[in-house]
Subunit: 324 residues, 2 copies
DNA sequence: CTGACGCCATACCCTGACGGTATGGACGGG
DNA sequence: CCCGTCCATACCGTCAGGGTATGGCGTCAG
């Protein structure tokens, strides 16, 4: 009806995305490894084919229009799906295809171990590969095909994924030992408001690490200071639980952590206190929405099975609700 | 790391999909409107770039490998996302962007009307367009961008969509007036097992209608007889509730219908009977997973709001669980 | 057994799209 | 007012992708 046929191409979307995020044709062309004129032309052609202006090119500033913002959102989705297609196909073509599962380092490792063992004991189960990844990266890894299933904490953006809750446990506040609040025996969320919380790394959108999921490394990114200042919340950046605890112990932050993590990490320089109204920490297993892969399905079924037999954590409440 | 860069292209995926579904290069080329040799070459190049065999070309038969089946699933996802990107961008570029909502014809029309009215009454609300679509097509329409939000019945494949349940009501059996079971006052699912149920149209995968979502029309598709015979379940094909009721009245089928539909369609030639263990009919609102569109968000919020004020249908139970 | 047909692969040519270089024009800062 | 920045245009060369012709192979009918 509206000839959607050759209108959009992966290349066009990569180009468009680069411009939309850099807000600068020259830098975008650099990032893409091409010259600037072909990029300008490609974007104009795209605009013509779509019949929609995508950028307002007022002098000194190129900003996406409303339509451009819509396309940016869709483009990210498409590009993730394309990467996932390539990666999953290659993986499926290997002599012994593996199920790649990703999880936060140091969280629920024994659950993961148990699930993996139960899965592997089944007849003709696929090999299991564990891909550790930093906080908050699990969903992205499943989305773009670097992993087949992921163990996500609640609060991760799980769009495009199907998921099933596995375990739920209360969270407690982790405070520096000398903190004023450590004197009290029980806290509420209000007590913690305004304190510096640790957070996952937020990478500037034009670094390679942002795209590939690799670490940003130590190369300097002079122009990013503004961006970082605008987007990074207060508190130290942490990538895993040991960094998080270290940050707390050093007095740089307070944090809400699952009680099991607290129990495994009793130390003198950190005080754990229950928080009356904190939402529980819920761990869920996620896989690409609508996947029909038998090995993924079996792994998920095994995980649910094992988690349901799991001895419930002391004081665990009902499952938290997911989604934002 | 693994150079996913130019490996996959939308064109390649369209070509691959055609071959994977037709299982025949010549017919696939026809469908794509190109000659056969370029298609063969494109697929071979794709296999080389991926480093994976996608088809077993034994003589007289071309069948996808395991990797090919994986790619097929991913390709559909990508192509839907690409169509959605083009459509949504174009829609967003219109002078007065509209929110397109799709719903089954004849189901929950008054709920939809109420939601639409409530939404429209808000300040700077977008225009609302209603796109009616046949049974079972709503999810696809949201996925590929023909619609922004959809009212889905439970049981629709909602992968790739976020959704929120709106209403839930019991279902009753609709029987031809003279049917033996009509003599009983209450039934159970076991009584209905094995009877012919109506079903949504299942289109052969290489017709245009299958791809575009348009109706198949009356052109003849001689070669599809085999396919249809293999894939179409028993019972008549229906596209909306009036066709469904007609099929029941004519004695061609029995059906489980929401009680509200039964109440609005009392007629002599149909007997409605409660079914003790039938799962309730749950209506949910669905939107593209992870969408950040403010107008969609507002529409969804309005819908949830309105539905929660809705007078509960007589005997409505708790929400059914979604997912497959 | 053999000829005809169906189906995929190869060979070859041609067009056009994409990328690079050079350059122009507009706006803003010093 | 000049210079720097940044996007657009012009022009050109290369190669990928599509078309036509043809070959090889297997199947089926007679």
């Amino acid at each position: 009806m509206d000839g959607f046929d050759g209108v959009l191409d992966v290349r066009d979307l990569r180009y468009f995305r680069a411009v939309a995020e850099e807000r600068n044709f020259t830098r975008a062309a650099e990032r893409l490894g091409i010259a600037q004129p072909p990029l300008s032309r490609a974007v104009r052609q795209l605009e013509r084919r779509l019949g929609a202006r995508l950028f307002d090119r007022s002098t000194r500033q190129v900003t996406p229009t409303a339509a451009g913002l819509v396309l940016l959102e869709e483009a990210v989705r498409v590009l993730d799906a394309v990467s996932a297609a390539a990666r999953r196909t290659r993986r499926a073509a290997r002599a012994t295809p593996a199920v790649v599962v990703t999880a936060k380092p140091g969280v629920a490792t024994d659950l993961l171990r148990r699930v993996t063992r139960a899965y592997a004991s089944q007849p003709d189960a696929a090999r299991v590969e564990i891909a550790v990844s930093g906080y908050g990266e699990q969903a992205g890894m499943v989305r773009d095909g670097r992993a087949d299933v992921g163990l996500l904490g609640a609060g991760e953006d799980c769009h495009g994924l199907d998921l099933e809750p596995l375990t739920s446990e209360p969270r407690v506040a982790a405070l520096p030992a000398g903190h004023a609040l450590a004197a009290r025996s029980v806290l509420s969320c209000r007590d913690l408001a305004g304190l510096p919380f640790p957070h996952c790394p937020v990478l500037p959108p034009h670094t390679d690490a942002y795209w590939s999921g690799r670490d940003v490394g130590e190369e300097e990114v002079p122009d990013d200071a503004r961006w970082a200042a605008a987007h990074v919340p207060r508190g130290p950046v942490v990538r895993d639980s040991s960094q998080l605890l270290e940050a707390v112990a050093l007095g740089q932050a307070v944090a809400l952590v699952p009680v099991s993590l607290a129990e495994r990490n009793r130390r003198d320089d950190i005080a754990y206190r229950p928080v009356r109204d904190a939402s529980p920490y819920t761990l869920a297993i996620a896989w690409p929405a609508g996947s029909r892969s038998p090995s993924i399905a079996r792994f998920v079924r095994t995980a649910i099975e094992v988690a349901s037999h799991e001895p419930p954590v002391h004081g665990a409440g009902p499952h938290a609700s997911f989604g934002e």
